[in-house]
Symmetry: C2
Subunit: 120 residues, 2 copies
């Protein structure tokens, strides 16, 4: 990595939602930025925890037991295997970190929200 | 993890510098917040990349070849083995991510800046 990456600038380079862009790698993990608007799909990741840090806007992480409300600077790591469904009415910008190869829709049936791995 | 963690609130709970606090874990990685003021020590991590995301203030990551200047929202991942020395004149608040067991001073001689692992 030759220079720092500004996350706001990285997010300004695309508009589509639920399409994470990898901006850096940390060992065998991918560090991504994503825009969220609307509702994602219920899923879990049987093999990994799932890192969310809200950079802008407001994000709801729906769990089966409760809804978690996150704003800028709020971090939540969904435990391995726990079903969750992110949504945002007003829109949110989020930093995600997962092991390389982790599929965004996890164990849900692959569908239109299943994103290819994309490097910004 | 039962509830989201606000990183600003977490940082308001301590004042000492160069003493990372673990706020969450991502698989076998520790997610930490740290305050930086003054100069750290030159070191490398032979076994891991080293994740820095500036949350507030300004941080210089000195490398042997150049100085990198980071402000809020700037991410830099020091490649495995690369010698670096963080410093901040005005002070900075930073999110760090490293594998569990990673020593903050890396391969430098242990000294007064070598921090114990602390959970907030």
């Amino acid at each position: 990595m030759k220079a720092p990456i500004n996350l706001t600038a990285a997010l300004s380079r695309f508009d589509d939602v639920f399409r994470p862009r990898t901006v850096a790698t940390l060992n065998d993990y991918k560090v991504m930025v994503v825009k969220v608007k609307g509702e994602f799909v219920w899923h879990g990741h049987p093999d990994t925890d799932d890192f969310f840090l809200v950079l802008d806007g407001r994000l709801t992480i729906q769990l089966r037991e409760q809804d978690l409300e996150l704003g800028p600077g709020d971090l939540y790591i969904v435990p391995r295997g726990m079903e969750h469904c992110p949504r945002s009415e007003e829109g949110a910008e989020v930093l995600l970190i997962d092991p390389q190869g982790t599929v965004n829709t996890g164990d849900a049936e692959p569908g239109r929200l299943t994103a290819p791995e994309q490097t910004l």
